[in-house]
Symmetry: C2
């Protein structure tokens, strides 16, 4: 028979089981943390009507979508989890409880040029808190605490959550009469750590901005010091603009309550240069960096928005949320050996039958399983060495041999895979022995 090459498309992650176990462990940690903070699960379809999914989109997004034409239907694979959320909340408004705290962990699709670290299919892990008409600013202060717990639960400690508020910059731009150019300027500021100061000045000059004002802008975005010092410097700048005042007040509230929620000072940092590229955000913005690997860029980002679903409904639905691009994050953490080192094993015990008399063997298996010791029986005819290798490769900590002697004496012989220690004993004693060193999924 002619064979087809069994290939996987480039830009699509497909892991070997040992890595898949690690991936799932992180994914579960994220899910559990989201649940811990009261978020409800959502699972929207991967396929939506193009008209619905692209109600707002344009430009880059449209170019990257995966589109399906079937008969008269024009369908699109979701490219994020935010647009489906907007649709969902608009559609089910009357049946939801607000503030609506939802998490969604699922695959999204972007037909980007495949390159290292870029995926066409990848997991996003999102939370959002959606208000009905309004949403208290303290919700924005809960988010850094959730990020903090999330990465702590994943075993990461060297990270910094950068926060800012777009009203501060927007108010500043209003005061300088630069509002019409604000989105251009914000996009530039967003790039400030990636380009030189000279290029930044150059590009600002290209926007026909007065050099004096460019200087003020640079002074402003380079305000630094401790978080409290930054807030003080902002408060003393004495700019007479309502948005600016609102932004500073919000930023201070978010920062102070974040600390109150228990974040360590060195894990949170006000950074007036963080703006997020998306016009979507209207207040607080977040980015999260691994302090030892800043080159990875932000690994968890989000912010506050005024209106989630304006393309679908007249209801005013402000919200705040974050997103983690898990596929890329996992790849990076795995390559950098930043994942917890502990071996992951699914089974605790592998029974190796040394006889074809299975009655006693299956009884032992049942007893172990009933006692919550996850057990496999290796039925195939292989050399002992290759069966032991199966156990080693799957990190199964114990093998149990059962042959005619064991059946006669109603015992089993257990071998610890790490220490090579081997003992013959009653199956009930095995249960105690194994319970001391149990699986880790």
């Amino acid at each position: 028979m002619k064979k087809v090459e069994p290939r996987t498309l480039s830009g699509f992650m497909e892991l070997l089981p040992s890595d898949q176990l690690k991936f799932n462990k992180i994914k579960n940690t994220i899910e559990e943390t989201y649940q811990q903070f009261g978020f409800l699960p959502l699972d929207t379809p991967i396929i939506e009507a193009s008209e619905v999914l692209l109600a707002k989109a344009g430009g880059e997004t449209e170019k990257q979508i995966y589109q399906i034409k079937r008969g008269n239907s024009d369908l699109t694979l979701r490219f994020d989890l935010t647009v489906p959320l907007a649709k969902y909340v608009a559609k089910n408004y009357g049946q939801l409880n607000f503030p609506f705290r939802r998490y969604q962990i699922g695959k999204v699709y972007r037909g980007e040029r495949a390159q290292k670290g870029r995926y066409r299919e990848f997991y996003q892990c999102d939370i959002d808190i959606i208000g009905d008409g309004s949403l208290n600013i303290i919700n924005d202060a809960e988010i850094p605490n959730i990020i903090y717990n999330l990465f702590n639960n994943m075993g990461l400690t060297n990270f910094v959550i950068k926060i800012n508020n777009r009203k501060v910059l927007n108010g500043f731009l209003q005061a300088l009469n630069l509002t019409n150019q604000s989105s251009d300027i914000m996009r530039l500021i967003d790039k400030k750590d990636k380009i030189s100061k000279e290029s930044l000045i150059n590009e600002l000059e290209n926007l026909n901005i007065d050099p004096n004002i460019i200087n003020k802008l640079l002074t402003f975005i380079n305000i630094n010091g401790t978080n409290n010092e930054i807030i003080n410097q902002l408060q003393t700048l004495d700019i007479n603009n309502e948005l600016w005042q609102e932004g500073i007040a919000e930023l201070e509230t978010v920062y102070q309550y974040s600390i109150q929620f228990g974040i360590k000072e060195n894990n949170i940092q006000i950074d007036l240069g963080i703006a997020r590229g998306l016009d979507y955000y209207t207040g607080t913005v977040y980015e999260t960096f691994l302090t030892d690997y800043l080159e990875l860029g932000s690994i968890c980002s989000g912010g506050r928005y005024d209106d989630l679903a304006e393309y679908y409904t007249d209801k005013k639905l402000p919200g705040v949320g974050i997103s983690i691009g898990l596929t890329r994050l996992f790849t990076n953490l795995n390559e950098l050996n930043l994942l917890k080192e502990e071996p992951i094993n699914v089974s605790d015990v592998l029974i190796i039958p040394m006889t074809n008399n299975y009655e006693y063997i299956i009884n032992c298996y049942n007893k172990l399983m009933e006692n919550n010791i996850y057990t496999q029986i290796f039925y195939e005819q292989r050399s002992i060495k290759s069966i032991i290798n199966y156990a080693i490769n799957l990190n199964i900590p114990y093998v149990i041999f059962i042959g005619d002697d064991e059946i006669k004496n109603k015992t089993v012989t257990i071998k610890n895979i790490k220490t090579f220690e081997q003992k013959t004993m009653d199956i009930n004693n095995i249960i105690k022995e194994v319970h001391n060193e149990q699986r880790n999924i």
Copy 2:
């Protein structure tokens, strides 16, 4: 702004949070049960090259696929989890440990005509044990035990796992010289419970089968009695055919060891009429029915196959596996009220601030969270009644009021949502109180 109607495509399940929690609970139960039996997770892409995915397909499958054309790429959404598994095992053969026990739970896509109970996007939950060259028949006896545990863990007890072996029927057909028509006949037998005896005879006559032989066939497929009686009747039929003998021996082994593994007699039933429509299966076959709702059809099916990946590799990879169509099963169980009744709550406590002084409130929140009591704070300005309704709708068992009095006395006031009992006490006593009745996700 012109609004787009926020609709979800028909044939695509999208649940409200309360149902999503129920769905996730079943999905988690399935996943945990699969892990318990030593299966490793896999997560293959939803999109594959059409050439790869359709290597084997034809006819009905091709008509139902979702195809994506992007530039020169011809891509297809997976329509099951078996073909991706075949590709995966062929591709990663050298890096897998055999027998390879894998589970995969994921969405698949079939562009079927939308109708009640039929989904275009649905979850399949599969396990397979893949052998390298050969696979011991006792593996086939593990599968009913897994199904048995699976449905028990889901809280279902009235179900029957029907087993058969295709070699029995194929051997019988060989002995009757009907091998050339075997797949037509097997497809008919597969339908036998759905059509009348007369239609069945009619259709067999249409295949130009001799009435004598039709009678033998009907006698054979209507052999009944207890499982042991069926095996006895088969053994005494004295048909001189190797395949037949092999099939009976395998069927007996699978049945006997299934019992040994602990399945109750009334949960397993040899049914010689079960053939499974797919030509793919070569030995043991399984179907599972809810005894009180036979009209739902099989809710968990599978079987033994000789060669998983013949379209991709020369390696002989026999296997045995099962699949659950979870989206449909969930919909049915939910409609029939067969899901466990217990309310599912994500959070244990909702704090209702009666003041804007949040310092003490957040300290209480932190203390509860540190003690593994999942807590939310309701920050929005709403009537007490509507906040209590939020707690009721989310099944949050306790609300805690904190106002100026509580702050002054360093207490909190807790209200049990079910009993309406209300007490004022120290936060540390709350921790003990709430631990007695904790969340259920």
